[in-house]
Amino acid sequence: MNQTTDTAPGGAAVTGRSGTDTAEAGAAGRRRGRAGRRSPAAGRTRSWRDAPLRRITPWLFLAAPLALLITFTYVPVASMISYGFTDWDGVSPDRENVGFDNYVRIFTRPELFRVFLVSGYYLAASVVQIAVALYFAVILSFDLRFRNLFKGILFFPYLINGVAIGFVFLYFFQDGGTLDSVLTWLGVTTDHAWLGDPASANASLAGVSVWRFTGLNFVLFLGAVQSIPGELYEAAELDGAGKWKQFRHIIAPSIKPVISLSAILAISGSLSVFEIPYIMTGGATGTQTFVIQTVKLAFQFNKTGLASAAAVVLLLIILLVTWIQRRLVPDDKVDLV
């Protein structure tokens, strides 16, 4: 368990056994109960705890959840790994074992590998996204007029249906669409086809992703900034610390865990982009992402083997990134709400 706590996601410290406030809050009575339940191996005194019915009770509660967890998470992962070593087409009863061929193809065929470069656009976008979210979180932690209105406006895009966002921005980037019209109104005339060439299309799509996801980062950061007690600022002011120093030494350290969480979400998010580019361009003009490619391989070209290998690669990368983040930032401080 200690090992799993180390590699656990965000709130694991709270859920783990490391004795945080919440765990501590569970009355002492519970702890006594636990000790009582652990000891019966030594002396079998409390009969009802040892009754067979009592022993299987937790499993009755866990039966359905575990069945679902295994069927829809572990079975797929296991079979995905095994498909990855075959040339299965997803339909026919027979499949050849091809060893590491699929993996060799992914890393050697440039058109299969290029999708990783597309992720670069989204990764760059998420840096912008975190910076923008941080700026507005700090600004809106002050007492401002219309504070709640601005907060709502900034967060709302995160709640909107992805397909609707895709259409809104198809119209936005269209020839003579929203963007062109606004630019004309500002006195800039351009007939640039925003989704016309790979660099511009990917940048535009990454921009949509900033528009969509900044709100979540913003609310996370805002929660963290607001949980800093006001006295800290007052004390700092008395000591003559300016606004920048306050940010640097009070705000920044307190929100570090949330920023690191956002960074990890950004990396795994930019590797698994699917909706926006699939809806807007269908992966045309060099906007194909890793997941679009995998979905096309599996469901359009019936290359289940190759697609599984690709999915395994993505899974490994995401696990690696998560692991690195856990190493760099101990996970005991993400505790916002």
Binding site: A64, Y171, S308
Partner: protein
């Protein structure tokens, strides 16, 4: 966010808790620019949805509709775009997957927190490790599982997947259940209640705030999900809000006024829910993302 000492600090006697740094005007300007960036793309689509097809084809994107009460495009979207069926399907999937998630998540949390049993640690680890596996990557193989069950192209495929792969809500319940004193369980047990009665009569009702959080997060993410229905529901009659809207792309091609109406139709329920439940939504998503 709502802890008493903090609200006291905000509303304390020293009026403005913290004054704005450098030029308030610049700050407001940046907020206005950000609001414009968020709102203009949406507003333009809203305007377009009220235009006739001539107005949409000829006029500028920023021009205003001739008749502000022209709802023809919404009728088209509802009728030709099958949005009514789509809302029905989405509602069906929402009810079952949310209900299932609440029951499954709270049962798991109850079993894990209130019992000591052999195999508890592996079970916990099983749930923990599963959070690291991103759903998008495993669909290639999950599809074969669902296919093996003969559920492809039925509404039960998304329902099972939403129910079975939601580990975040297990954590939300787990965190909350820790705050419910065990003495309540013990008292009920002395009165002769069995584990199931305790879960149903005591734990479940006390979990209400956690249930509200899970319902909100789960409801919004399920309503917005495109990937799962896109992969599993192929028939047009089984379209959800997302996939039905996605199908607008074909038949309505360049008819932006109809596509816009469809998009606005999908956004309106979200907007209403957001306006009504703001506070819960902020907290819920902050909680969900950090688990």
């Amino acid at each position: 966010m709502t802890s008493p000492d903090l609200t006291a600090a905000v509303k304390g006697p020293r009026r403005p808790r913290r004054r704005l740094p450098v030029g308030g005007a610049l700050t407001y300007l940046s907020l206005l620019v950000a609001s414009a960036v968020v709102l203009i793309p949406l507003a333009v689509v809203f305007l377009t949805s009220l235009k006739t097809s001539e107005e949409a084809a000829d006029g500028s994107a920023l021009s205003l509709p001739g008749n502000w009460f022209n709802l023809d495009n919404y009728v088209t979207a509802f009728h030709d775009g099958k949005m009514l069926t789509a809302f029905g399907n989405t509602a069906f999937i929402l009810v079952f997957s949310i209900g299932g998630t609440v029951v499954i998540g709270s049962m798991t949390a109850y079993a894990v927190d209130r019992f000591d049993f052999r195999g508890k640690k592996p079970v916990m680890a099983g749930f923990l490790i599963a959070t690291l596996v991103p759903g998008v990557t495993t669909q290639v193989a999950t599809f074969q599982v669902i296919n093996g069950m003969g559920l492809v192209d039925t509404r039960w495929a998304p329902i099972l997947l939403y129910m079975g792969t939601d580990i975040v809500s297990v954590y939300i319940f787990l965190q909350f259940i820790r705050g419910i004193p065990v003495s309540l369980d013990e008292a009920a047990r002395l009165d002769g209640a069995n584990a199931f009665t305790i879960y149903r009569k005591i734990i479940f009702p006390l979990l209400k705030p956690a249930i509200a959080t899970v319902v909100i997060i789960k409801g919004i993410t399920t309503y917005n999900d495109f990937y799962i229905p896109f992969l599993y529901l192929h028939s047009e009659d089984l379209g959800t809000v997302s996939t039905a809207l996605f199908r607008f792309k074909g038949p309505f091609g360049a008819h932006w006024e109809a596509i816009s109406a469809g998009a606005i139709l999908v956004i309106i329920p979200t907007l209403i829910v957001f306006l009504l439940l703001q506070r819960w939504i902020y907290n819920g998503f902050a909680q969900g993302a950090t688990k």
